[in-house]
């Protein structure tokens, strides 16, 4: 009888430890608000066609230049350098109120957004159409010393429809900026409808 009681106590103790361990595991693995609302990332490389829920894009070329002249004649100077990304983007299922609202370059956890200074010379924030790609340049202004840094070897171009990509597809294209030459100047093509 006493032996049974002792066994029961040990079993209770083990049971408690097991319950605590499960509780700890649950609290550690519960997705945070950031995580369950996070964008659904579709990763790829240069020249690869990436398809998300309502965005399809291919980044054809990345260049770095001291100065940029856009097709509309805009030539805005910068205290940094320009990263010019030529890309083709279209929506996939719906183009009502859909624009290229998220076009960012992430280097070492720091986010740079595609400049809207070139106005019609860039496709940043431009409306998208289903199945008809919009092809044109995106210009990013980044600090000059960042181009030679190690962090520039794994820069990510992020594209998504509208400005809030939470719980929607986010296309992520990894590029090595440190391998690219710094050109004195670059002229960009006029944004057009249709693939390259």
């Amino acid at each position: 009888m006493t032996r049974m009681t002792a066994l029961k106590r040990v079993a209770n103790g083990v049971g408690l430890v097991v319950v605590l361990a499960i509780a700890w595991f649950v609290t550690q693995t519960t997705p945070t608000e950031e995580e369950w609302q996070a964008p659904i990332v579709v990763s790829g490389d240069l020249g690869e066609t990436l398809t998300g829920r309502n965005i399809e894009a291919v980044v054809s070329e990345v260049r770095i230049a001291e100065s940029v002249t856009a097709s509309n004649g805009w030539a805005g100077p910068t205290s940094g350098v320009w990263v010019v990304v030529d890309t083709s983007v279209s929506s996939v299922v719906d183009d009502f109120g859909v624009s290229l609202g998220t076009a960012e370059l992430v280097i070492d956890g720091i986010t740079y957004s595609a400049s809207e200074r070139p106005d019609d010379g860039t496709i940043a924030r431009a409306p998208l159409t289903t199945a008809i790609p919009l092809t044109g340049p995106l210009m990013f202004e980044i600090p000059r010393d960042l181009v030679e840094s190690e962090a520039a070897a794994s820069a990510t171009i992020q594209l998504a429809v509208n400005s809030d990509p939470r719980a929607d597809s986010l296309l992520a294209i990894t590029v090595d900026l440190s391998a690219l030459p710094l050109l004195p100047s670059v002229e960009t093509d006029e944004p057009i409808w249709g693939a390259l």
């Binding site: 030539a75 940094g80 200074r117 600090p143």
Partner: protein, 222 residues
């Protein structure tokens, strides 16, 4: 035979105090102790007005680094209009342009739009008939309105206000407040990180240069 223990005077007082303290609620003790502490701190100047640190004065060309932006006020210019950028004031008004180099020291792009962006961070003080918010904020080099400021890429911006003719004139020294904001993240119904509640963090006294119709705003730079 029972012998009662000899009752000393001290023991009697102790017994009475014990009986009294049993009747007084504990809360009263705590309250009176707190009141005593506050009275003592008041006696040593606890009720005096706390000295607010003075807002630092910067020279023209000095930079102020806040939580989000590094701001360097360059100069203040009075001009008729910028017709090429379609910025024309109402008849009888002129434009007050404050040029400042602004660098984003945060890790995300910062807008320059009023109420949420860098347009809130520079304010000339005490000018009659001037709206608080700027008419527009533009990049000096290419005239682009309300640009996004990219991290660690300083941009020279023109903060433009409409002022009544005569409210400010050539060689007037105006006070320009440089503001900073407080970082806030998350929230009950809001999402993400932002900077809000601008407060004056420094000020600059700058002479105003009147360039008339404005033949090359840049040429007036000292």
């Amino acid at each position: 035979m029972t012998t009662t223990p000899p009752v000393t005077r001290a023991a009697l007082i102790r017994a009475r105090a014990k009986a009294l303290s049993a009747k007084v609620p504990t809360r009263w003790f705590i309250t009176s102790l707190v009141a005593l502490f506050l009275a003592a701190s008041a006696a040593f100047g606890g009720l005096d007005e706390a000295a607010t640190p003075p807002v630092p004065q910067l020279d023209v060309g000095d930079s102020f680094t806040g939580a989000q932006l590094r701001i360097t006020v360059e100069d203040a210019v009075l001009i008729d209009a910028f017709p090429e950028a379609f910025i024309t004031p109402q008849p009888g008004n002129r434009l007050l342009v404050i040029r400042a180099t602004v660098e984003n020291v945060w890790d995300k792009p910062v807008t320059t739009i009023s109420k949420i962006g860098a347009a809130d961070n520079v304010r000339p003080r005490g000018i009659d008939g001037m709206e608080d918010e700027p008419l527009t904020v533009s990049v000096v080099s290419d005239g682009s309105p309300y640009p996004d400021l990219q991290p660690s890429v300083p941009v020279e911006l023109a903060f433009i206000w409409e002022v009544p003719n005569g409210a400010v004139s050539q060689s007037d020294v105006i006070t320009i407040d440089v503001l900073d904001k407080t970082y806030v993240a998350g929230g009950l119904v809001t999402y993400g990180e932002r900077f809000q509640d601008p407060f004056v963090a420094a000020y600059v006294e700058a002479p105003v240069t009147d360039v008339g119709a404005g033949v090359g705003q840049e040429s007036e730079t000292p």
